[in-house]
Symmetry: C2
Subunit: 338 residues, 2 copies
Amino acid sequence: MVVQLKDIAKRLNISISTVSRVINDTGRVNKDTRDLILKTIKEMGYQPNEVARSLKRKSANTLGVIVPDLSNSFYASVIKGVEKVARENEHSVIVCNSDEDILKEEEYVQLLLQKQVTGLVIATVGGNPELFEQYKRSGIPFVFIDNLPNTQENFDVVTIDNVKAGYDLAKHLVEQGHEKLAIITGPQNQSTAAERLLGFRKCLEDNGIDIREKWIGVGEFRRESGYDIMNEWLKQEELPTAIFAANDFLLYGAIRAILEKGLSIPQDIAAVCFDANDETGLVRPQITSIIQPAHMIGAIAGEIIMRKEKNKNLKVFEKVVLEPKLIINESSQIQTGR
Amino acid sequence: MVVQLKDIAKRLNISISTVSRVINDTGRVNKDTRDLILKTIKEMGYQPNEVARSLKRKSANTLGVIVPDLSNSFYASVIKGVEKVARENEHSVIVCNSDEDILKEEEYVQLLLQKQVTGLVIATVGGNPELFEQYKRSGIPFVFIDNLPNTQENFDVVTIDNVKAGYDLAKHLVEQGHEKLAIITGPQNQSTAAERLLGFRKCLEDNGIDIREKWIGVGEFRRESGYDIMNEWLKQEELPTAIFAANDFLLYGAIRAILEKGLSIPQDIAAVCFDANDETGLVRPQITSIIQPAHMIGAIAGEIIMRKEKNKNLKVFEKVVLEPKLIINESSQIQTGR
DNA sequence: ATGAAAGCGCTAACAG
DNA sequence: CTGTTAGCGCTTTCAT
């Protein structure tokens, strides 16, 4: 049987409140009884029931995180960042994988709300803005990362400037002399996908480069999408000389198509993307990429929630815009011989 | 304010038990009042408080998962497998990252127990067997994956035969004609690390190949370890012709060292490992590897827990041994020209 | 078919 | 310094 407060109280012939006091170190308790209680707790292997505590406290001391894809190392790092802050504040983390599915996402949001999470970090895949506005009224802080909700309402946000980052990444290609640029981006109801495309467009305009609508590919943020779109392009006579992908998986798929066709990177086609975090160190070609500070994004998101928990009446919304890094690698540089 | 049962009861001038009944669809309720209640619930945006429910139910309907490294795609897949089963059974998943740290692991186990999880899936990094035996008495099912606890007690386990897999992987190298074999494995208090080494040894013995103790490297399951150990070996005059690593990260580090030294794979040194799941499709050389059915491991682990929840008095322990696949790739095959 | 009331395990007033 | 008691929001007997 599981031992609980009343068991150790009974054993010691004292009241459960005294026991509770020493466990929570709140209020004074006679040194001797305190020691005795501590000893008994250990002996009996007492573990406080967090559910009961949560009910009383009206908070589960838990952060919820919803990401589209656990397998993407960008999100894995974000989660680690959230977890670090959660740990420091004695909270735990419920991780949910929406699998790029809006319905699943909504389901998980509800679930987390019902679980009385302290706050919620979410990389939405384009969820209904009205729902978010409704949830907002629940008072549970939502911190958006990566993708922002498509609404004018104020929310807490930790992100990068995706338009600028897209611009910079395209700029890099332009500086390498490319004029036939193609882009593969994600679902346009996801702000990252839309904004990176926007930055790309702007850069081309600013540099007087033709935007070829046929070379604007829109897919899912998955390898298959990148592969399929690229293959379509490869069937045509005229080929782009550079590919810009809005995330890493899209590019991996595209590169696979390119290589299968017998073309080389970057000689025939240069390739760049967002968040090519190479956990193996062996991805070839090494990818030129905009790298978001994923761990920090997660950590800051967690901190915002902790701050709001401590200061409930703090009704200010934070919009944190972090600086990503452009890492230039062989996938976009004509090799200058060894 | 958050709306709760009593609010909608008050509004309708009925008792909360009736409302509860329609929500849980338990017991009969007049069709009209039921419809009215349903309507009001929607209007007021009622969300049941899962914490209160959990307290009453004495279970949080949640599975806990503890893995050593969220960034390793093997574990990411395991988690997805658990999550799938959890979803199907209307449970959620709390993911914890022990970061290969025994203390953190113990902390998380405690936390999850306190949270009244329905069960716990754990890839231990060598936690104290006595603790596990103690926890077992709590009645909450622990399902071990990947690493097994170092104890004779019965536990639920979903794994592969690591000795055999290690044997097979080594065998492959032997069949390629290698006689100077080196192994890089993980902490020996982790069963996977120890058993894979065992299989390796056995294979060499069976094939009359010298086991060179100097080429048995023991590190952490991280890239740096693989890199450092390999670099030590590379300093010496005599080099192995093949490297066997007990996990992917170890091998990635080793390969990096090999390549930096200007040697090639597999011509100078062949390289194989466990669980080289290439999410990018661009890792070069492509790694010969034993691949565990990660998703299935997670799913089965989840199912065991669900089964035990439904049938509390089921005191049988399941030991599921799955079949891994040996994927042969360029990292271990002398190319026969194109 | 519905309501009253007990209780899940704990915390925190309040009283002594 | 310690005990009594009232909830936290919900489910579930037990009456009616």
